[in-house]
Subunit: 217 residues, 2 copies
DNA sequence: GGGCGGGGCGGAACTCAGTTCCCCCGGGGC
DNA sequence: GCCCCGGGGGAACTGAGTTCCGCCCCGCCC
């Protein structure tokens, strides 16, 4: 991997052959493909583990957890993996941005994450109306919000705080799709809440007010 | 293309080489790659045109169109393309379902659709708070809803009515994310609106109520 | 200690996608 | 006639990924 990245950064991904890598690393070509099924896999060495981590995390959800919250937290696992090696992640980001083959590979990885989230949500929404549709849409929204936060962090060169941007992005999705879960501060279930808003106020501000009135923040 | 699909259906995609195709078609190998940049492109011959259609459709949006409605309609263009050749689409679906390489290619195509939608939404949401985040999330949600409808239609063998399922799926997204566009029924700007909701009601229902109270539906 | 089986490693050769280079041929202008 | 041009086709090349086989080292059993 070290040899591969040295060459990728020196000459670019496509100008580097597997023979170059194994020659620099001093190993046999056969051994390279033993550890990395394809040349692209060198660039994404940890996604496979992260994917199994995510499915395990979802499978280990205690009963009664709010599903949308859970998938948002699952997405944070990916962000954390990126944040563990900021400089590596940023280098890889620059690489994937300009090599179509790597972008395609990344898409297939992201797709597998999304399917894992969707599968979990489908299980949780089973039986309810439009369950699979809601599961697919929410999974896609979570992935999109996560990617939005991740990319802005990567564009900052890994210097910004990844968690706060992700909290904000995922918070938006969560508040848009999430079910009520927090116990009311002084309210009992069944209480009535009255919200007053001006008609020309922006919708998001009205929603915010509803949320705070309902004790959800 | 006819020769390629005959062989793909007979022996499978991976067991068919480009030499087989050109031998059956009676053309030169060089000519194959003149018309199809890669072997995968034979399977998705019309996506390139559909993508340019979609960008043109979005670019030609009249001023004042509701953005979410517009991207939902843009997604319907893709569905219509599939529906034009049901049997071909179903065959291709079965093929891409079991060939990882074709799935990866399809993902990259879908990604380009999603980026086209997101780019349009980013332009429309420019300046508003969290504009790019909303654009990305909505684009992903629209694509997910479209794919959900498309796949259920494909699984039905192309017999069901594609439009009604798509209308329902996209309608959910549209009502979840759409902006107000209808003029208020009898309210003037500056009027006060009072909304009453039970605390344990699901959030989306509260939001729906706020919207209708504000005359936005 | 000596045979022995298995696993990690390496290399040679192969398949196939995709590219490059060059040729051929037909048509149309000069 | 000659030249130019553009589409088609083939030969040869590059490089990824696979298959097959041989080597060596290590532990294990007799």
């Amino acid at each position: 991997m070290a040899a591969a990245f040295r060459l990728f950064l020196e000459r670019g991904y496509e100008r580097t052959t597997v023979d170059d890598i194994v020659a620099l690393a001093g190993v046999g070509r056969r051994s390279f493909f033993r550890y990395f099924p394809s040349k692209e896999d060198v660039v994404f060495p940890d996604h496979e583990r992260c994917l199994t981590d995510m499915t395990a995390y979802l499978a280990g959800s205690p009963a009664g957890t709010e599903p949308v919250r859970r998938v948002c937290d699952a997405a944070r696992l990916v962000l954390r993996m990126y944040a563990e090696n900021p400089s590596f992640s940023v280098q890889r980001y620059r690489l994937t941005k300009q090599v179509p083959g790597l972008r395609a590979y990344e898409l297939s990885v992201v797709w597998r994450y999304e399917r894992a989230l969707a599968a979990y949500l489908r299980g949780r929404f089973a039986g309810s109306a439009d369950g699979t549709l809601r599961a697919d849409v929410i999974a896609a929204a979570v992935v999109a919000a996560h990617n939005n936060a991740l990319r802005s962090w990567l564009r900052s060169g890994g210097t910004a705080d990844a968690n706060t941007t992700a909290d904000h992005a995922l918070g938006c999705v969560q508040s848009a799709f999430g079910e009520p879960q927090a116990p009311p501060r002084g309210l009992d279930s069944g209480d009535l809440v009255i919200v007053v808003a001006r008609r020309d106020a922006p919708l998001w501000r009205v929603v915010r007010e509803v949320e705070s009135a309902l004790g959800r923040d």
